[in-house]
Each structure stands twice: as structure tokens, then as C-alpha cells.
Symmetry: none
Subunit: 155 residues, 2 copies
DNA sequence: ATTTTTTAGGTCAGGGATAATCAATCACAT
DNA sequence: ATGTGATTGATTATCCCTGACCTAAAAAAT
């Protein structure tokens, strides 16, 4: 019955549990200790962070090296359920124009799902992308928009 | 009482407390005295200032040598939106790496000039840009970062 | 008035202690 | 066979701290 999960999965769950216990949405780790606890190489911790605690997932990482070094994991948003991510993906689609994106963002702000400042940030990022390349970027715009919305849309 | 934090951290907190107590936004120190108080080498004070009281942290340093020497620490205050824009533009500069940008965003969130959600959005946009282009993107990153920060600082 | 001495603070390189990165390899599913 | 995710270890970068040497300003000596 015991489904053997990957080490990365176990470490992820351990970190999420720590966050759950804290209630303060921020925890501080020592990479070396965590690696010892799971009997793995320290860089494995970085792999877990890179693959599961990115900004897209609503997390921010602050770290310091040297003596008294640490890794702080900050949970900015609650976990966005797949259901909601699918909804966002549906709204955005595989490709999107700047004009369509603007309409979508306006609607989201209207529903108070994002703030005016957040809407500005997203619009600027998309505009920068659109102005950069020629016209094959509607797909890329859709990807970026989904990443950004996915990171801040809370449950 | 165990020493849990680094010496630099303790000195930082001591200075911040002084600033807090003063109520005013400026304090004056003697490097030698402070070093003696913490039983360390005087240059350690310089290290603390260099690593924690830079403009990106919201401080300016003024000092004088010789008899009646001093180190003054001034907390930056941006009264007008214009000052805020200039401050940000100066911090970002003409070019910036992804690593530098992340550090800056951490400081800005610490200063409560941006929220965690806004930091998420900016980090995602910058990383998207950095990973997309291969090479000479430090200028473009600086432009995008200034655009994004500038847009929300005035709201 | 000029020079010398004294009294500060500044800069830099280096070493120990961490964490980050990267390329190689492994594991497993398709 | 191939592709994706997981794991490792070697290398690189960063942080903290010290101490040797440098510079500036004021006082003292001339």
C-alpha cells in the first residue's frame, strides 16, 4: 500500500507542513540541516525549491550564505487549486492579443480579484513583450499572462 | 543568552533601534565606540553599513574622519511621487542582472514599497525576459523593471 | 604659517562557512 | 528509443569577520 514517493515530494510535503504549522506564512531553514535530515545532497533542496516553490506557485525565496546562513520561504498566496488554474487557462487560452488581455485584466480588477497596481504590472509586462518581438508572440503572451495570474489568484 | 544571530545582524538591529528611538530620521555614531561595544574590529561597522544601510535599504551615509569624527546614518524619505521615481530609477540604474533585481525587490518589499504579490509579478516578468533572451538583456531588464516599479509608485 | 603628530574613519584582500549553480547520470514512464 | 523528472557531486559565488594598510581632519609643535 505504501506508495514510495520521491525524495523531492517528501521534502516538499515537509516544507508545506512547516508552513502550515507556522501560520505566519514564512519559515526559515538551514539547507545543510534539511539535507542531513533527508540524507541527501544539499543541492537536492535547491531542486525542490526550483521545481515547487517558484513565484508561479505563490512562493518567494530569500537566502543568505556563510555562517548563520538560511533559506527563508515566504508563502505569498494561498495555494491555487488546479480547478482555478484551469479556469484562468480557459480565460486566457493558448494565444492572446494585447487588446484581449487588457479587457480580461479590466474585468478581473472589476471583480476585485486583482488590484489596480497589479493590473498595471501585468499590462506593462505584456506590452513590453509585445513591443519586443514581431508578431509571433501571442502564444508567449498567453504563457506569461497565465504565469502571472496563476501566481496571485487566491482561493 | 546564546548568540543566535551574526554579529552583523546584531549591529544592524542596534542601529535600527537607535533610529527608532530618535524619532528623527538621522543618528550619529562613533565607529570606534560601536566596535568596542560589540567587541569587534572597527571595519566590521563598515561592513554592516555596506551590506545593510545602502540606498536600496532606504539609507544614506555621511561620515567624517579625524578629531570629532562621526558616521551619520540618514533614513531616506520620499516626500513626493517624483522623488520616489528618481529614487527607484537610481536604484535600478541603466543595467541590472536578474540576481541584482531579485535582491532589490527583496529590499523594496522589506521597506513596504511593494507587496508580496507585486514582487511575485515582477519576478515572474523579469525571469521570463531573462530566460527568453539569451544575452544582452541587462539593459532591457533595467528598462522593464523601471517601467513596472515606476508605474505603481505613483498610484 | 607651516610642519608634525594624533585621532579618527576607509579600503581591501583573505579565510572559513555556507548556499547556488551546473552538468552528468539515473529512473521511470511513454 | 525518448523524454521528463529526480539525484548527485564538483565547482562557483556569497556572507561574515579580521587585520594590515591607507586617507582625512584637527591639534600640537615649530
Amino acid at each position: 500500500m505504501e506508495k514510495l514517493q520521491s525524495l523531492a515530494h517528501d521534502i516538499e510535503k515537509y516544507i508545506l507542513n512547516l508552513l502550515e504549522d507556522e501560520g505566519d506564512n514564512i519559515i526559515s531553514l538551514r539547507r545543510k540541516e534539511l539535507a542531513e535530515m533527508f540524507s541527501c545532497v544539499p543541492s537536492q533542496i535547491n531542486y525542490v525549491l526550483r521545481s515547487r516553490f517558484r513565484p508561479e506557485h505563490g512562493f518567494l525565496i530569500d537566502s543568505r550564505r556563510g555562517e548563520h546562513g538560511y533559506i527563508k520561504i515566504l508563502r505569498v498566496t494561498c495555494e491555487t487549486p488546479d480547478e482555478k488554474l484551469n479556469h484562468i487557462a480557459g480565460l486566457v487560452g493558448d494565444e492572446i492579443s494585447l487588446k484581449e488581455a487588457r479587457r480580461l485584466l479590466e474585468a478581473l480588477q472589476e471583480r476585485e480579484l486583482i488590484t489596480g497596481r497589479e493590473r498595471l504590472l501585468i499590462e506593462i509586462a505584456l506590452r513590453h513583450l509585445a513591443e519586443g518581438a514581431g508578431n509571433v508572440e501571442t502564444e508567449e503572451m498567453a504563457d506569461l499572462l497565465k504565469s502571472m495570474l496563476g501566481s496571485i489568484m487566491t482561493v
